[in-house]
């Protein structure tokens, strides 16, 4: 081998002969940790998250369209007789429901009167918006769905989301055309609930499992029973009073602990829903501090 006391500059460079995976690894770890800490300290990631949500929706929307197209093929191929039959059943169902509604109207008036007497009218949200589900995330640490309406449609963070059976969650972040809905089963979600039969007030906390809510603050002498219905209590002003939330499925008294172990199953068919209802809050409801959105700019003219 030839002796070369002075190497050329290119040969002396640090990464010339071998790369150092440890160095790269250290760099990525430091950058990731810095990002995580920054995000945790302040919501710096929010604009970025909104941009990401919009770009994600750009992928999800065509797929969602394709799925609904596939779902629409079935009805399109149905026979005439079948359609007539379904039409008749639906008409009958409408009649039956109308009759039921008419019968309940006096009850509604009575209820309003009684509530007015008690001085605690809690008006239920008026404005609905039907939205389509673009994506479902049911990880244990993250239970949320992405819907195809955002600030442009008048949605704001904190709006309640329901389906035909019960409470689904609340709008977490609303960007221009899509929003993320935090489900009530998300580990960070807490819903003030009331046991419908007894009026007992407590909280439900998401468990990270789509079919289970935890009620961790019920003492061991609780009279909660399996099968009892939980509704939103309206306390805190976040969710309006009276939406069905869940049914108690499991009660274990634990005398050696402070609280009983109580589980409930959400009524909303979260994993099967393709359409949801968002209840857009009216500015006139509730005290002023509750009307302020949690974060993010909301334009007044978009909310009626």
């Amino acid at each position: 081998m030839r002796f070369r006391p002075f190497r050329r500059r290119s040969e002396r460079s640090l990464f010339h002969h071998q790369s150092y995976p440890e160095v790269r690894f250290a760099i990525t770890v430091v950058v990731s940790l810095a990002l995580l800490i920054l995000r945790h300290g302040a919501p710096l990631g929010l604009p970025l998250a909104q941009v990401a949500a919009e770009t994600g929706a750009a992928i999800e929307r065509p797929v969602s369209d394709a799925i609904s197209f596939l779902e629409s093929i079935g009805p399109a191929l149905a026979t005439r007789a079948h359609l007539i039959r379904t039409n008749q059943t639906l008409k009958r169902e409408i009649l039956r429901l109308r009759a039921g509604l008419a019968a309940e109207k006096p009850l509604v008036f009575q209820n309003h009167r009684l509530k007015a007497l008690l001085g605690r009218i809690r008006s239920i949200h008026q404005q609905f918006r039907l939205v389509r589900v673009l994506r479902i995330d049911l990880d244990p640490y993250r239970q949320e769905v992405v819907i195809d309406a955002g600030q442009k449609a008048g949605l704001a963070s904190g709006d309640a989301v329901i389906d035909a059976n019960g409470l689904v969650g609340q709008v977490g972040t609303a960007s221009a055309h899509v929003s993320r809905v935090l489900l009530i089963t998300d580990p960070s979600e807490m819903v003030p609930v009331e046991v419908a039969a007894t009026g007992l007030l407590t909280f439900s906390i998401g468990s990270g499992i789509p079919t289970r809510l935890r009620l961790p603050y019920l003492p061991n002498d609780t009279r909660v029973r399996v099968g009892q219905l939980l509704i939103t209590s309206g306390l805190g002003g976040h969710y309006a009073y009276g939406f069905p939330v869940a049914v108690i499925t499991h009660v274990t008294l634990r005398p050696n602990r402070s609280f009983a172990r109580v589980y409930a199953r959400p009524l909303a068919a979260i994993s099967e829903d393709r359409e949801l209802l968002v209840l857009i809050r009216q500015p006139s409801h509730g005290p002023a501090f509750l009307r302020k959105p949690a974060f993010g700019p909301i334009h007044k003219e978009h909310r009626r």
Partner: protein
């Protein structure tokens, strides 16, 4: 095949894995959703460690975080950790029988899921630990078909 084209093919498979992992699917799929990104990134770290490395894995994880609006850097960190481990031991892992490979990668995927569990716990979003292991199991079962499919792509386009 030139380096840039090899790299393009790797990036394309990563993009497909990314799309597979954020698509809307029925409930049973979402709960046991395979770890597509670690599977594909892991294969390339094993088969083409010169092209696919820690930085590419980190970028893929970053895109995943951005697309799912999970805390930025979470999956990026976990992916770069497993990319480092696989790249560091790629010669050893390559010599293993496919069953032993599945076991080894099962351990590595478990580390991945545990890191995500840990980060979520630190930023105060704790969840139950057990559901984290289901995707690991599904992904390990998917390793042989993914391995064969990607090997076909690697041979067809001569990526190395």
């Amino acid at each position: 095949m030139s380096g840039i084209r090899s790299y393009c093919i790797i990036v394309m498979t990563l993009i497909i894995a990314l799309i597979l992992s954020i698509l809307p699917f029925p409930h049973w799929y979402v709960v046991g959703r395979p770890l597509w990104l670690p599977l594909v990134a892991g294969y390339w770290c094993l088969a083409a460690p010169r092209r696919m490395g820690i930085l590419t894995a980190w970028l893929a994880g970053f895109c995943f975080d951005a697309a799912r609006a999970s805390p930025l850097g979470e999956h990026a960190l976990a992916l770069s950790v497993i990319a480092y481990v696989i790249q560091r031991y790629h010669l050893q892992i390559r010599t293993l029988h496919i069953g032993q490979q599945m076991l080894t990668l099962g351990g590595i995927f478990l580390v991945y899921e545990f890191l995500i569990f840990w980060i979520n716990g630190i930023i105060s979003k704790p969840g139950p630990l057990l559901p984290y292991s289901l995707p690991v199991f599904v992904s390990v079962c998917l390793w042989p078909p993914v391995f064969m499919g990607l090997r076909f792509i690697r041979r067809r386009y001569r990526v190395h």
